[in-house]
């Protein structure tokens, strides 16, 4: 009770559990509005553009990209790291904040987890396209084959990456589905008899709200959160090893794993902010995703932004402190070389603009937060681009220095990945509850004192006294 007096309610509007159900399911019952339909068609057309571009580059070969002998990795890998990074905030919110008992996460975890899954799908596409012969992608699996059997090279960071991303996708998708079971049952129980009820009946696996199941479910949830936490750190650590295990100046640094993990969480948090600010407005969920939720997410974003900033400084400091002239050149070239503008965008967007979030006035101004989150997304895309391209394009031999510019096909593929992401996200908003209904019901009582109803008997007897009367 003491905590009730101190803590403000997490969910605004004095909701009852019934209201929570109907508020969150209302979107699913309505016919899609023009806003959703327009957004969906727009995303779908971007997706189709991307699909056409991917079909073309698979048919013709990845010679359609702007890569050359010197710059062998550029746009494609940038997009891969960008999308994987975005996924990480979903796991942070659903797993890490769960273990830290941050109950405000209940309003955003479902959407953040969905974001993770769709972002990882987008990410996974790029390495597969990059293979050039994507129909041989299954060669990454160590299966007994007719080529020897020739096994995969388990010493290669690219194989580590394959295992990391596929495990991450599987665990995230399972975590999401298991977390959704109670809500699927809610939809099943309120649906009219028909196809929808049958479909959700199958999906809900016969969930009936038995507390024995709830107890196991909670245990499972805790366990999956405990597994997902080191997993998310390992995934981006391994992504950074794709670079750090090479001997390229600018890549070959031990700071990469924490630097990449912090950057990933930062970019993901900004994507969550972007999505949530739009979703709460368009889906009328202001009572569930309140300004306080945005405020807390902004603080987290600011914290990781500072970590990213200190990584930027450390990186430059170590380059000069190392006394390694190649490393020093790589950083001078990164900051004031021909792609120095990219470095400037990265620093300004990721460390500069975000400093506004120190002020509550800024954190509660949703339009400003939205703008900052977009800037952070752009900044984080450029971070990966700068790391990848500036480290490569001026290598050890000045005679082989080269420039890089993306071709229209590469741009179309990036646009297409956004199309895929938003198409999936918009479908998610329509067909599954965007907010974890059962979890929100569990935190309704926070910061609220229950209005006491009189007991049915005329004078309520204290519980303890009654217990003594009962014959055992």
């Amino acid at each position: 009770m003491a905590s009730a007096a101190i803590r403000p309610p997490l969910i605004a509007g004095d909701k009852t559990p019934q209201q929570v159900t109907s508020d969150i399911c209302a979107v699913l019952d309505r016919k899609p509005g023009p806003l959703w339909l327009g957004g969906f068609l727009f995303s779908l057309s971007l997706l189709l553009l991307g699909a056409a571009a991917v079909a073309y580059q698979i048919a013709v070969g990845i010679g359609t990209w702007g890569l050359n002998k010197t710059v062998g990795w550029a746009f494609d890998i940038t997009n891969f790291v960008f999308w994987v990074g975005i996924g990480h905030a979903g796991t942070l919110i659903s797993a890490v904040l769960f273990l830290l008992r941050q109950q405000w996460r209940t309003s955003v975890n479902r959407a953040a987890e969905a974001m993770t899954i769709f972002a990882v799908i987008c990410a996974g596409l790029f390495p597969v396209i990059h293979m050039g012969r994507p129909w041989l992608a299954l060669w990454m699996l160590p299966y007994p084959n007719m080529r020897g059997p020739l096994w995969v090279n388990f010493r290669s960071p690219l194989i580590w990456d394959f295992f990391a991303i596929s495990t991450y996708f599987t665990i995230s998708a399972t975590f999401w589905y298991v977390g959704m079971l109670p809500d699927l049952a809610t939809i099943r129980d309120r649906a009219q008899p028909g196809f929808r009820k049958k479909l959700f009946g199958v999906l809900a696996l016969g969930w009936d709200g038995s507390y024995k199941t709830w107890l196991r479910y909670e245990t499972l949830y805790k366990l999956l959160a405990g597994l997902a936490t080191p997993l998310v750190i390992s995934v981006h650590t391994i992504v950074s090893w794709d670079f750090a295990t090479s001997v390229i100046p600018g890549w070959h640094t031990t700071i990469f794993p924490p630097y990449f993990v912090a950057g990933a969480i930062y970019s993901g948090m900004s994507m969550v902010l972007t999505l949530m600010i739009v979703a709460r407005k368009t889906m009328r969920l202001e009572d569930y995703i309140t300004v306080e939720h945005i405020d807390k997410m902004c603080k987290l974003t600011l914290a990781v932004s500072l970590m990213v900033g200190s990584a930027y400084l450390t990186e430059v400091f170590v380059a000069f402190y190392s006394g390694n002239s190649y490393e020093q050149f790589a950083f001078i070239n990164r900051v004031i070389g021909p792609l120095g503008w990219g470095y400037l965008i990265m620093v300004v967007c990721n460390v500069g603009i975000t400093q506004a979030l120190w002020f509550r006035k800024a954190r509660t101004n949703l339009l400003l937060v939205f703008a900052i989150s977009i800037a952070a997304n752009i900044g984080m895309w450029f971070e990966r681009f700068v790391i990848i391209v500036t480290s490569l394009h001026r290598d050890y031999l000045p005679s082989s220095w080269a420039d890089y510019a993306p071709t229209s096909i590469e741009l179309a593929t990036l646009v297409g990945s956004f199309g895929l992401f938003f198409t999936c996200f918009l479908l998610f908003c329509r067909y599954v509850p965007v907010i974890a209904i059962s979890e929100v019901k569990g935190v309704l009582s926070i910061g609220r004192v229950r209005a006491l109803k009189p007991a049915h008997s005329s004078s309520p007897v204290p519980v303890a006294a009654e217990e003594e009367e009962v014959p055992v």
Partner: protein
């Protein structure tokens, strides 16, 4: 002999918690409680043992990791050793990342499957909640009546103290 159960329907979290404690404290057997969300502390009130699912995860996670280490050494050192940049065939430290991922995958997926099995959740299973409103807002307590000491009047009185909505008897 048929199974007789008394069902109490509640609307509030505090009530179901207190009622569960009181009914169990009075010596009656609560076979289950149905709730729309995981009520904190209800497991203790019902006297449920903590779930053993983490052991499944730990055992299969370690088994998966062990199998993976064996597989990596077997493929890289014995079945078809390939010299990659002069590195040793058995590059154990380089095998750690994949081993870790496989451990997490096995631990996670096996625990989920074990959960589905012990909770008997599968596609095509009909929901057996005593009230469809359980997935919305209602709490239902199921008390076994087969106990010789069962006294309906006492239980009714007890439940009413905690604002029970209605009480129902079901025989099956």
């Amino acid at each position: 002999m048929s199974r007789r159960r008394l069902l109490g329907f509640f609307e509030e979290e505090d009530d179901i918690l207190a009622a569960t404690r009181a009914v169990r404290g009075a010596g009656y057997e609560i076979s289950d409680v149905y709730s729309p969300y995981a009520v904190h502390g209800l497991d203790k009130a019902m006297g449920l043992e903590p779930s053993k699912l983490p052991w499944v995860g730990a055992a299969l996670g370690l088994a998966g990791a062990a199998a993976k280490v064996w597989f990596e050494i077997w493929t890289s050192e014995y079945d078809w050793p390939i010299n990659v940049g002069g590195k040793p065939f058995n590059s154990l430290p380089a095998f750690i990342p994949v081993t870790f991922e496989v451990m997490v995958l096995f631990a996670g997926m096996s625990t989920v499957l074990a959960f589905f099995i012990v909770a008997r959740l599968y596609p095509g299973r009909g929901a057996e909640a005593p009230d469809p409103a359980v997935s919305d807002h209602r709490f239902v307590m199921v008390i076994e009546e087969n106990d010789a000491a069962f006294d309906a009047d006492v239980v009714h009185r007890l439940l009413r103290q905690f604002h029970v909505g209605r009480v129902e008897e079901r025989v099956d």
